[in-house]
């Protein structure tokens, strides 16, 4: 059975554009312009795309928040807006930008209210609270009002809150946005574990390629409301050449370096940009080649971001 099934889903918004002092015209904008895909149970799928691509709108249609303009949606064989309450019991939703918790209550009280809202049996509740408390390290701030939590703490609290009722699917909208490296790593580790140990299906929107790399075998790339790629990350990288760039600062100006596995893209005084593929050449071997030819003062590596990947997918089609 599929966890999620979408067929030719569309969402059109009316946007009013000012054309004069008072006059305005109505423009129909397709936030989602005919999307089809399925997600099997137990899968962990990354849903990526640049800002405004339609990621959040899709998630909102899957969770019963928005009514699709047309098309077919089923989540756990339920129609999200029509069977919203039934579906809500079986899914968990986390929006990175917004909290589900009660702003003026301690985290523990929010959990307690959710326990009643979702009618969680007390043994399940106790077990989950104990486990998430430990894995997400909530103990130190569980009695603090939510408004006083840091973003990372709040995010951990939100994750636990969305999972207390043992949802079959977890929808995450930008769960790592604004978090520092340590906090991101912690959230990713938790999600990977959840997927393996509990078999929870996870659909995650992000524009952080690292999220996908660490978590998802499969990724869906969406842009301008359409799916432009559906497959695994390795294939994307192999086929669309997501190049990394090594930026080296040399001690003195030099002609473009001739290094196997990399091409010099740009030279600016002593600074050079070398484009390479991580699958073919490691940064370390590049560096040792460079060091044998010139004195290196400093280096930096720029990894491809989702905008690069999207651009390349377009370029090839």
């Amino acid at each position: 059975m599929n966890a999620v099934e979408l067929r030719d889903i569309r969402k059109t918004f009316n946007v009013y554009r000012r054309t004069g002092r008072i006059r305005r015209e109505r423009v129909e904008v397709d936030a989602v312009a005919g999307i089809s895909f399925t997600v099997a149970r137990g899968e962990m799928v990354g849903y990526v795309g640049p800002n405004g691509a339609g990621k959040s709108t899709t998630v909102k249609m899957l969770t019963g928040i928005l009514v699709p303009s047309s098309g077919f949606v089923r989540v756990l064989d339920l129609e999200p807006t029509r069977q919203r309450v039934e579906l809500a019991r079986r899914i968990g939703v986390v929006f990175g930008q917004r909290t589900q918790l009660w702003w003026d209550l301690p985290l523990r009280d929010s959990f307690e209210l959710l326990r009643y809202i979702y009618r969680i049996p007390s043994d399940v509740y106790e077990r989950n609270l104990a486990e998430f408390g430990k894995v997400l390290d909530l103990e130190t701030f569980i009695d603090t009002p939510v408004r006083q939590l840091s973003l990372g703490q709040r995010m951990r609290g939100d994750l636990a809150a969305a999972l207390l009722h043992d949802p079959e699917i977890l929808f995450l909208d930008e769960p790592t946005i604004g978090l520092d490296v340590v906090a991101k790593a912690r959230i990713r580790e938790f999600l990977a574990r959840l997927n393996v140990e509990r078999g929870t299906t996870v659909l995650l929107t992000t524009h952080d390629m690292d999220d996908i790399e660490r978590l998802c075998k499969r990724m869906l790339v969406i842009d301008h409301g359409r799916v432009i790629y559906d497959g695994d990350l390795q294939t994307v990288k192999a086929r669309y050449g997501a190049d990394s760039v090594l930026v080296v600062d040399l001690e003195e100006t030099a002609p473009p370096l001739d290094v196997p596995g990399a091409t010099v893209e740009r030279v600016d005084g002593p600074r050079q940009w070398l484009r390479f593929r991580r699958e073919h050449t490691s940064a370390a071997s590049l560096l040792s080649h460079i060091a044998s030819k010139a004195a290196v003062r400093d280096i930096a590596i720029q990894d491809p971001d989702i905008e690069d990947v999207v651009r390349r997918i377009y370029g090839s089609s």
Partner: protein, 266 residues
């Protein structure tokens, strides 16, 4: 009805949050009590100049006012929070309401509970008790039942008006003033005998925004008054039915409205 227990718990958590600021909480209740007397002062001023208003004496009008006001303020404790709806919609926080396995209306109503309106309820009760002590109502079982049914129906009718009027926010951003003119305005107009209004206003209040059923029609029977507007006699007993119909209409409007929700960009 297990949901009702959950809503009570949600409401309880909101009330407790207000109790934590005890002094300001008390001041607000006292303030609401005093402020709401100004509404009644308007009526007193009229009776300083007139012995009767369209054949209604001061205690009789006070009876209309008190019964309507008690129900309205009781509804305000819960329904008054609907004026936060535009904010929920504009900020996209209504998303959260939709991701929980509970009815959207119940959740919206329990987003906050405004206990200070208790001051207004007390004021309405004071006026109501004054009027009953001055009137010589021929109490019998029918009148007693009608009295209770009148207050209960009024509460439900006001609730339905709160919901229907505020649901407009889903279509028009920040239609709060429109909604308030129907809710607060409706309560204000229901405090006077319907016979002082023109014919088209009476029709509006009887059949569209049914505030004539809040107190005027049942009060005609309880007080044994003749109706200067010559309305059908049966209307005096219809408040509970009107209340049920209002709820059905309000539910329908609310459901349509929620489908219009468009959330905000991520």
């Amino acid at each position: 009805m297990a949901d009702a227990a959950v809503f009570l718990r949600l409401a309880g958590s909101r009330v407790r949050a207000q109790f934590s600021y005890r002094l300001s909480f008390l001041l607000q209740i006292v303030g609401a009590f005093l402020l709401s007397f100004l509404d009644f002062v308007a009526i007193l001023v009229i009776f300083l100049h007139l012995p009767r208003l369209a054949h209604w004496t001061l205690p009789e009008v006070a009876f209309l006012y008190g019964s309507s006001y008690v129900a309205f303020k009781a509804g305000d404790v819960i329904g008054g929070n609907l004026d936060k709806l535009p904010l929920l919609i504009r900020m996209g926080t209504f998303d959260q309401v939709l991701t929980r396995p509970l009815g959207t209306l119940g959740q919206t109503l329990t987003v906050d509970i405004d206990i200070r309106h208790v001051g207004g309820i007390v004021q309405g009760l004071v006026v109501l008790l004054y009027s009953i002590s001055r009137l010589h109502i021929a109490w019998d079982p029918v009148r007693a039942v009608m009295f209770v049914a009148m207050i209960a129906s009024a509460l439900v009718i006001y609730g339905a008006i709160w919901v229907s009027a505020n649901a407009v926010s889903f279509w028009v951003m920040d239609a709060r003033e429109v909604a308030n003119s129907v809710t607060y305005g409706g309560n204000f107009l229901s405090q006077y005998p319907m016979s002082i209004y023109s014919i088209w206003m009476r029709r509006l209040f009887a059949y569209v925004i049914p505030i004539a059923f809040v107190s005027y029609y049942p009060a005609l029977y309880i007080l044994g008054k003749t109706d200067a507007t010559h309305s059908p006699f049966v209307l005096r007993f219809l408040s509970p039915l009107v209340a049920v119909a209002s709820v059905i209409v309000a539910r329908f409007i609310w459901r349509m409205a929620v489908r219009r929700y468009r959330s905000t960009g991520s």
